[in-house]
Subunit: 220 residues, 2 copies
């Protein structure tokens, strides 16, 4: 079944909202907001994707991808992350530059190209932002990710991944001296707004809760 770029984008967005986010965040409105379109347009496409058995969906019901729909989304994520890895390792793209171009490249249709790219890159397990790359067989265990914001004062952790959807966020991460595998020490959590004071390379920095929500860590 041939899908348009638009349909693929919807499936990826749905996967993000239903499988990779906290629950409840998966409604017509969230989908529309995420894609920057009107709820009416989202509703329209949902009906179409339901017709193609990619989305399980009843009027006023909750959104969910079918097995097929999930498989398509996971393939797209695999392609996206392989391309990001390629851009970063061989095309001299910094980690905040890769996302936009990978958004285009992920729609290229060629199973052979993806297989060869995977081989060329040495079968990488993670992309430049630390995100796991789904396997060729569709294997993709969303690893339980702890956010920096979920830690307590006094905890230490290692940065394992960063949400790649915002260039500004990635630039900020680099700006304050962080990179994959950086050690972070949580000094204090401020009650009034949830912001954190963290210690990075001996330097004390304060980061917002919104920031800490998008930074994934492994507790040490």
């Amino acid at each position: 079944m041939e899908l348009t770029k638009t349909e693929e984008d919807y499936l990826k967005a749905l996967f993000h909202l239903t499988e990779e986010s906290e629950a409840d965040k998966a409604g017509t409105n969230q989908l529309a907001e995420y894609l920057g379109i009107s709820p009416a347009s989202a509703n329209n496409m949902l009906k179409k994707l339901k017709g193609k058995a990619l989305v399980a969906y009843e009027k006023y019901g909750k959104l969910e991808l079918t097995g097929q729909g999930k498989a398509v989304a996971v393939r797209l994520i695999r392609k996206h992350r392989l391309w990001e890895t390629f851009l970063h390792q061989h095309m001299n793209f910094s980690w905040d530059e890769v996302h936009g171009v990978a958004e285009q490249l992920e729609h290229i249709q060629s199973p052979k190209l993806i297989a060869e790219l995977d081989r060329f890159l040495g079968f990488p397990r993670r992309d430049p932002h630390g995100a796991v790359i789904p396997g060729a067989d569709g294997e993709y265990d969303t690893p339980p990710k702890a956010t920096l914001s979920s830690l307590q004062a006094g905890d230490a952790c290692r940065l394992v991944a960063v949400d790649d959807s915002s260039e500004a966020l990635l630039r900020y991460v680099s700006r304050i001296g962080l990179a994959l595998n950086s050690r972070i020490q949580v000094e204090e959590i401020h009650e009034f707004d949830g912001s954190l004071s963290i210690l990075v390379e001996g330097v004390l920095t304060m980061v917002s809760k919104q920031f800490a929500d998008r930074v994934f860590v492994e507790k040490l």
Copy 2:
């Protein structure tokens, strides 16, 4: 100015018809036929491209690209051929497999990616089919190409390029023992249908005129 994939495809087709083919071959009908659409659709798009100053065009007049239109087309050809080279050299694609995927890749928008790809490939001058790759500055002298069909009986030549638009043609070229730089000896030209008997690696083969029209050579 942002162009759609469709508009880009029209410009590339127009470049092919007006700059790279024998003259007279550039009418609404030829364009439609080349793109596999109806003449009405071609006419429609020509009006739109005229509005964007990419095509110089008057009702019932002949088709021609403006300087801008040509520049867009040449950039596309550059991207297409760089990707073909990448696929062939690093992704284990045979020369008859590269075209289709390159048709998709050529629409990726990222000047940086193209510059880096060029560097990564070592600034190649020709693609896997022997076609010249336009420069980053838009430099592209369509080299005067002699077709195999333009030779006389007794002439010898070297194969310098093959039209890449048909996979079947490329497979056939390999099949009869030809590759870039192969030496070809024209033994005889048959009057009744223009077919040629040629000597390749000591083996005598007969090829059709249509075939010989798409094989480019340098006379020795």
